[in-house]
């Protein structure tokens, strides 16, 4: 076994240890440790990606002396390595971009715990991406849940406390349903490893036994993870939590945490139940419909919002809808679109949140649209980044969001007539709605009619903020312009993924 094959396991376990150390270090030292470790994990994940691309395969890494049904194992393929690299890179950039907010918003005694939570969150995201075992997934979903609530709570204000309470309750409800699903599935199959369950589920499905339990299990998994990833009817907790947290937290929660759960759902659908069962039980139709609703109602919610960060949070609801529509098409092209959207949104939304954080800085701490008039002039780099992000969200060519819309449209064109009509209409309406709330913001932030109060204000030069935004802009335009490479990687990854 080559050294590089150990990297996924090292990133998971030592992210945990990094979090433990951050809890006892001074905030500045913890920050350095966390940033160094995240840089290292990004490099390691990229190395794993290169390795899996070169060998053009996946490998199973045994976590201990014993093979899989007895011990734990993780499975590393192209898609997993790609997601891990993107996630850890975005985590690093989000932390850098909002660094001064972290130190301003957290109580000084507790700022080090912010980095603890980030490390633990990163570890759990890695584990969710690589896991091949449902119970391992559950354990790390727990870490993910608590750590993400703590990220909201660390900005000490009453509003975040209320938002955290709602977030925690909804998120725990999701975990509970997810656990019930695992337990019941274990009850009828007696397995926890994904491949073994898949085998048993195929037998059960073919024999026609346990029809009702199987339906309920799929329902429990879908609803549980949909609550946690804020799919449309369960999204009510999201705007509060993401809108009130500190800039980095909003970026991380919107960009990464929601996607972690969706990756678990994709794994469960395609590696545990298999396409036949999913289609027969008609879950994908539900997800498709809710995804379409999310695309529309998320955007409507964003249009009504006058608070920039809450508007971005509602936009996340709509963007999560795109992913679910992709999954709901239950075709290869749909899955490609869903994976593209996971990456596109992960590199776009954090940039928007961090730029919004910059605007709030130069507008006296206000988040409402009227106070932000002209903020793009006071913080030019933030303005450019926000414009890039907004154009990407609307779906202008050469930006990341366009790639999603392109592939989603292709996926829709290949599906049945009814699905195609609904999906195309939803994409068109959603694009229009996105433009309806993003374009006014762009005009607003570059408007010359600044209110006198903040007119002379200029943003303080911060290397980390600038570096993060420049990287995000480059990533976004790079992904939008050279999407063919990434999409090719995703396709190859999905082939290995059992699609």
């Amino acid at each position: 076994m080559e050294l590089v094959q150990n990297f996924p396991f090292l990133t998971i376990v030592f992210s945990l240890t990094c979090g433990v150390f951050c809890a006892v270090l001074k905030a500045r030292t913890a920050k350095r440790l966390c940033l160094c470790w995240l840089t290292l994990t990004t490099v390691m994940s990229l190395a794993v990606l290169v390795y899996t691309m070169r060998t053009n395969g996946y490998y199973v890494y045994r976590m201990g002396k014993w093979n899989a049904p007895w011990g734990n194992e993780i499975r590393v393929g192209i898609l997993e390595a790609l997601m891990a690299s993107v996630f850890s890179g975005v985590m690093l950039l989000s932390l850098l971009g909002g660094m001064h907010h972290i130190f301003a918003d957290c109580e000084p005694e507790k700022a080090n715990l912010y980095f603890t939570m980030c490390s633990l969150l990163m570890s759990s995201l890695f584990a969710l991406i690589y896991t091949n075992d449902l119970f391992t997934a559950y354990v790390f979903v727990e870490i993910n849940t608590i750590a993400s609530c703590a990220l909201v709570m660390l900005k000490s204000s009453a509003r975040t406390l209320v938002a955290t309470t709602r977030y925690l309750i909804m998120s725990l409800l999701g975990s509970g349903l997810f656990l019930l699903g695992i337990v019941t599935l274990y009850g009828i199959t007696g397995e926890l490893l994904m491949e073994s369950i898949a085998e048993k589920v195929r037998e059960i499905f073919a024999s026609g036994a346990y029809s009702l339990p199987l339906t309920v299990i799929i329902g429990l998994f879908s609803v549980g993870l949909a609550v946690k990833s804020a799919l449309f009817p369960f999204h009510s907790w999201l705007p509060d939590a993401h809108g009130n947290a500190t800039a980095s937290s909003s970026a991380i929660l919107s960009g990464l945490v929601l996607k972690g759960y969706i990756i678990v759902l994709i794994k469960i659908f395609y590696r545990v139940f298999g396409l036949d069962v999913i289609v027969a039980k008609q879950v994908s139709q539900f997800l498709f419909l809710f995804g379409v609703c999310a695309m529309i109602f998320g955007s409507v919610g964003a249009i009504r919002e006058r608070d920039l960060k809450r508007m971005l949070a509602y936009s996340s609801v709509a963007q999560v809808g795109y992913i679910y529509v992709g999954i709901g098409l239950h075709s290869r092209l749909g899955m490609v679109a869903a994976c593209v959207q996971i990456i596109a949104h992960a590199i776009t939304k954090p940039m928007l949140f961090i730029a919004a954080g910059g605007f709030i800085d130069v507008s006296g701490g206000h988040k409402s649209m009227s106070a932000l008039t002209g903020a793009g002039r006071r913080d030019p780099l933030g303005g450019v980044a926000f414009t890039v992000g907004a154009l990407s969200m609307i779906g202008i060519p050469f930006f990341a969001g366009f790639v999603t819309k392109l592939h989603l449209t292709q996926g829709a064109l290949e599906s049945g007539a009814a699905t195609m009509t609904v999906a195309l209409a939803a994409i068109a309406v959603s694009t229009l709605l996105n433009a309806l709330y993003y374009v006014p913001v762009i005009f607003n932030i570059f408007s010359g009619r600044e209110s006198g109060e903040y007119k002379g204000l200029r943003v303080r030069w911060r290397a980390d903020y600038a570096f993060s935004l420049v990287c995000f802009i480059a990533l976004n335009i790079g992904f939008g312009s050279f999407s063919r490479i990434v999409v090719g990687v995703i396709r190859r990854g999905l082939e290995l993924f059992g699609m």
């Binding site: 945990l16 809890a23 002396k65 750590a147 703590a150 660390l154 009453a158 406390l161």
Partner: protein
């Protein structure tokens, strides 16, 4: 920003008027103004009674009662959803294979190997310890960190800045009179009982941890016992005497050491196992104290971590710090 407890922050939130429920009820002065006979009021009352088309009356009734109606509907809907979910889950349970029966799918080669070969493979006579710490050790590593992240979250939420507590008194007026302002009442009976029970619970906790490989128990249960001993000692003898041997510093040292040792041991174990190297760990004598190879130190690390976490929860809720 002031550093104080979560509750005080919430209270301030309500006082700041962000929760504006009070503004929906009228003050006595406003009520009196409404009762007097002015043209506007006459119009207002006429809206409420008759002379208006049904639609408008319905609208005014809805504006009046709509909120209550929504609340009631919300309650009914939530009860309905819960009852439906319970019904569906109970129905599903009735379909599941019988628990413990020989043809239950959970009785398969996985369980068989755990039961029949755990002595030779992990060196433990307690198959559960072998399963959670060796076979599925990675999951348990995650589980121990769930405790850690929970403890950190409680610290974020409840810890009062030590600078606000000088000489045992609170400086923040918002927190005066709250529980954390008072030392526990050192009751004589409690103290005498604790003198007997605290050492016992520590010793029993250690016993359970050390024998975790050969008898039921292990890190989680032994740690819970020791944590209970710590809590009892701080309730009976006061915070100061407990802080003498277990304060903030000690907590962080023990916790970091335990989790780091655990993660390193597990990383070594996984690395060697995955790469197919011999791990040179002496498994010990099954049934003895030194048995199970790495499971014994792992149990010890988990035990102390659990004890720390339990005491940390108690201390933070009780006095806002360790």
């Amino acid at each position: 920003m002031r550093n104080d407890g979560a509750f005080a922050r919430l209270v301030r939130f309500v006082e700041d008027g962000t929760f504006q429920e009070e503004s929906f009820t009228l003050s006595p002065a406003e009520k009196a103004a409404l009762d007097t006979d002015t043209p506007e009021n006459r119009w207002l009352t006429s809206v409420q009674h008759s002379e208006k088309p049904v639609g408008a009356r319905l609208m005014s009734w809805f504006a009046d009662k709509g909120f209550d109606l929504f609340n009631n509907l919300y309650r009914i809907a939530s009860v309905f959803i819960c009852v439906t979910l319970i019904g569906v889950l109970l129905t599903v349970v009735s379909f599941l294979p019988a628990f413990g029966s020989a043809d239950n799918p959970a009785v398969n080669e996985v369980v068989e190997r755990y039961v029949s070969r755990s002595i030779e493979e992990t060196g433990t006579t307690n198959a559960v310890a072998g399963m959670i710490s060796a076979y599925r050790g990675f999951d348990t590593l995650g589980e121990a960190h769930v405790l850690f992240v929970a403890a950190c979250s409680v610290i974020i939420l409840l810890r009062v800045d030590p600078s606000e507590r000088k000489h045992g008194r609170l400086l923040n007026p918002d927190l005066l009179g709250e529980d954390l302002d008072f030392e526990p009442n050192t009751d004589l009976i409690l103290r005498k009982a604790a003198k007997l029970l605290v050492p016992l619970s520590f010793i029993f906790g250690l016993y359970v941890i050390l024998n975790g490989t050969s008898s039921p128990g292990g890190g989680f249960s032994g740690g819970a016992l020791m944590g209970a001993g710590l809590i009892l000692s701080s309730t009976a003898f006061g915070f100061k005497r407990t802080e003498r041997f277990f304060g903030d510093e000690m907590y962080h040292v023990v916790k970091t050491a335990c989790l780091t040792v655990y993660a390193l041991l597990m990383a070594y174990f996984i690395f060697m196992g995955a790469n197919g190297f011999e791990d040179h760990v002496w498994l010990g004598v099954p049934g003895g104290i030194v048995s199970g190879g790495l499971i014994l130190p792992i149990n010890a690390a988990v035990g102390f971590e659990v004890a720390c976490t339990m005491y940390c929860f108690y201390a933070l809720f009780r006095k806002g710090g360790l």
